[in-house]
C-alpha cells in the first residue's frame, strides 16, 4: 500500500518537474524578449532592464535561472499579464474555478446519467432499448462540441428563449467572490433576491454543462455498456446463476462492482477530453473560465499568460488523472488483470 503511494508520489513530482521545465523553456521559445516573457514586466529603459535581469538572474546559467523560476512558481509569484497588468496568480485564481465548476457539473452529469444508462443498456444488451441507447450515444459522441453548443444556443436560447447564452450570471447581480464557484458563491452571499440569483445562475450554467456533459455522458454510456457485457459473459456469473442467486442479487453483488473497475482508468482519459471541450465551449458561451482567458491571451499575444495558463491547466489535469489512477489502483485488488480495457 505504502509502496504504491510512494511510487505515485514520485511519478507526480517527476511529471510536474517536466512540466515546469517545459513552461520555463517556453519563455525562451516564445517570440519577443525573453525577459518580458518570463516576468511579464516590460522594462521602459535599460536601467530597469539591468535591474530586472539581475533580479531574475538572467545573467547566470540556465540551471540557476530555472531553480529561481521554480522558487517563484511555488511561492505564487507568477509574473504579470501583458494586457491587463494584473498579477497572473490573481487572474488564474479567478479563471480556474469557473472551468473547474463547469467540468465538475458535466462530469457529475456523465457519472449519474451516463453510468446508470450504460448499466441499463449492458443488462438489456441486444434488445431494442439497447440499440436505441447505443445509437443515441454513438451520435452524441460524434458531435463536435462547438457544433453541439451552437445547436443548443440556436434551439434553447434563440428559439425557445429557455436559457441565456452568455456569462455565469446576469451582471445585475453583484455576487461577492468567495470560492470562485458561482452557484456556491450565490448561496453563500447575502443578496436580498438570492433565490432569484440562484435560479438565474442555474439557467446560465444549463446550456454549457449540457453541451459538454452530453458528449462525456455518451462516451460513459458506451464504456459502461461494453464493460457490463464483458462481465456478463464471464464464468463467475454462470457460477452465480448455478448457485441460484436472483438476477437482482447477481447484478448488485457481482456485475456492478466488476463492471465498474475497468471503467475507472478510462475516466481519467475522459477528464482530458472534458477539459478540452470545456475550453472550447467557454469561448462560445463567453464563460469567464481559463479556456476563454487562454484563447484571449493567444489573440493578444500575451506570452506570460500563456506560459502560466499552460502550467496551471496541465497541472490540474495531470494531478486529477494520477489521482484517479491511484484511486483505481487502491480499490481494485487484481490491478494487473485489468490493464486498460479497450473502449
Amino acid at each position: 500500500m505504502i509502496q504504491i503511494l510512494t511510487r505515485y508520489c514520485t511519478l507526480l513530482t517527476i511529471t510536474l518537474l517536466v512540466l515546469a521545465v517545459m513552461s520555463f523553456s517556453l519563455a525562451y521559445l516564445f517570440p519577443g524578449d525573453t525577459l518580458e516573457n518570463l516576468t511579464g514586466l516590460v522594462p521602459q529603459n535599460d536601467v530597469q532592464r539591468e535591474a530586472l535581469e539581475r533580479q531574475f538572474k538572467l545573467d547566470s546559467s540556465v540551471v540557476v535561472q530555472f531553480f529561481y523560476y521554480l522558487g517563484n512558481l511555488l511561492v505564487g509569484d507568477w509574473g504579470y499579464s501583458f494586457t491587463s497588468g494584473l498579477p497572473l496568480a490573481e487572474e488564474v485564481s479567478i479563471a480556474m474555478p469557473a472551468t473547474i465548476e463547469l467540468a465538475t457539473y458535466a462530469m457529475l452529469m456523465a457519472l449519474f446519467v451516463g453510468v446508470p444508462l450504460g448499466y441499463y443498456a449492458g443488462i438489456r444488451s441486444y434488445s431494442t432499448t439497447d440499440h436505441l441507447l447505443n445509437g443515441a450515444s454513438m451520435t452524441t459522441y460524434s458531435f463536435p462540441v462547438f457544433w453541439l453548443a451552437l445547436l443548443l444556443i440556436l434551439v434553447f436560447s434563440l428559439q425557445f428563449d429557455a436559457a441565456p447564452l452568455s456569462g455565469r450570471i446576469s451582471l445585475l447581480y453583484d455576487v461577492p467572490r468567495v470560492t470562485g464557484f458561482i452557484l456556491v458563491d450565490v448561496l453563500l452571499s447575502d443578496l436580498e433576491n438570492k433565490s432569484l440569483a440562484f435560479k438565474d445562475a442555474l439557467s446560465h450554467i444549463a446550456l454549457p454543462t449540457l453541451a459538454i456533459g452530453a458528449i462525456t455522458t455518451a462516451s460513459m454510456i458506451r464504456i459502461t455498456r461494453r464493460s457490463v457485457i464483458d462481465v456478463k459473459h464471464k464464468a463467475y456469473i454462470a457460477a452465480a446463476v448455478s448457485r441460484g442467486l436472483s438476477s437482482w442479487q447477481i447484478f448488485t453483488r457481482h456485475v456492478l462492482r466488476n463492471a465498474l473497475l475497468p471503467i475507472l482508468p478510462l475516466m481519467a482519459i475522459q477528464i482530458t477530453t472534458l477539459i478540452t471541450n470545456a475550453m472550447i465551449v467557454e469561448t462560445l458561451f463567453s464563460w469567464p473560465g481559463i479556456g476563454n482567458w487562454l484563447i484571449q491571451a493567444i489573440y493578444q499575444r500575451d506570452y506570460p499568460a500563456l506560459r502560466i495558463g499552460m502550467m496551471a491547466v496541465s497541472t490540474l489535469v495531470i494531478t486529477l488523472t494520477i489521482l484517479v489512477d491511484l484511486f483505481n489502483r487502491l480499490i481494485d485488488p487484481s490491478r494487473e488483470k485489468y490493464e486498460h480495457a479497450a473502449v
Partner: protein, 297 residues
Amino acid sequence: MPQFSLYEEEFHPSPWQRTWAAFRSSHIAMVGLIMLGCFVIFALFAPIITPYDAVEQNIDGLLIPPSWTSNGEISHLFGTDALGRDLFTRIIYGCRITLGTAFITVVLAMLVGVSLGAFAGMLRGVRSSIANHLLDALMAIPTLLIAIIIVAILGAGLVNSMWAITLALIPQFVHHTRSFVRAEMKKDYIVASRLDGASRWQLFIHSILPNMIETLVVQGTLALSIAVIDISALGFLSLGAQSPLPELGAILADGLDAAYLAPWNVAVPGTVVFLMVLSINIVGDGLRSALRKRVSH
C-alpha cells in the same frame, strides 16, 4: 494409408476474411463505410468534382440561398457565403483539407507512437516503466492546450495545428502499443521464436506486428475521429486554418458572422463535420465488434 477426406470442402477463412465477414454482417457498419467512402472520394477528387474555385470571390453572387430553398439557384448547390464564394466547392475542399490533414496526422502519430511504444514495450526494467508512466501522465494534457502553445510559438496555420494534434495523439498510440507488446511478449509463440534465436527486431517485425495490425487499425479510426474533431475545432477558433483556406471549422466560423441572414453558412459545414465524424465512428465501432467477434470464437 490413403486419407480419403470427406471434408474436402472445409474452408478455413483467413483472419482478415473472417473480420470482413463479421463487419459486413452488420448493416449500420456498411452504411458508415459507404458514407466514409463518399468523404474519401470528395477528399481525393475535390478539384475534379467542384464546379468553382474555392477561394475565388464573385461579387454579384453574395449570400445566394441554397438551391433547395425558394429563391436559391441550382448553379450554387449549397448557395454562396458572405464573399460570394460557392459553398458547395468550399465544403468539398473542406473535406479534402480536414480529412486529409486528419489522416496525415494519424498516420504520423501512428508511426511515431508505435515505434516508441514497441521500443518501450520491448525494453525490460525500470526505465520502461518510468518512461511509460511519464507518457501516460503527459497523455493527459488537453489537445487544445498543446495547440495554443504551438500557435503561440510558431504562429497560427494549418500545418502548425497538425503538429499540435500529432503531438497530442502520439501518447495514445504509445500506450496501446506498449500494453499490447508487453501482453504479447508473455505469450508462448514469442518465447518459442526467441528461443530459436530471433533478435528483438525480427521478433517485432515477424510476430508482433502482424498481430497488431488489426488493433492498430481500430486505434487508428478512433484517433482519426478525434483528429477530425480537433482540426475543425482549431479551425473554428481560428488557431488552425487561416481565413481564405476552406477548412470546415473555419468555414463555420466565417459563416457565424452572417448567421442571421445566411443560416445555411453555419448549418451545412456543421452537419458535414458531424456526418464525417459519425461515419468514422460507425466504421471504427463496426471494426472493433467484428474484431471482438473473431477473437472470441
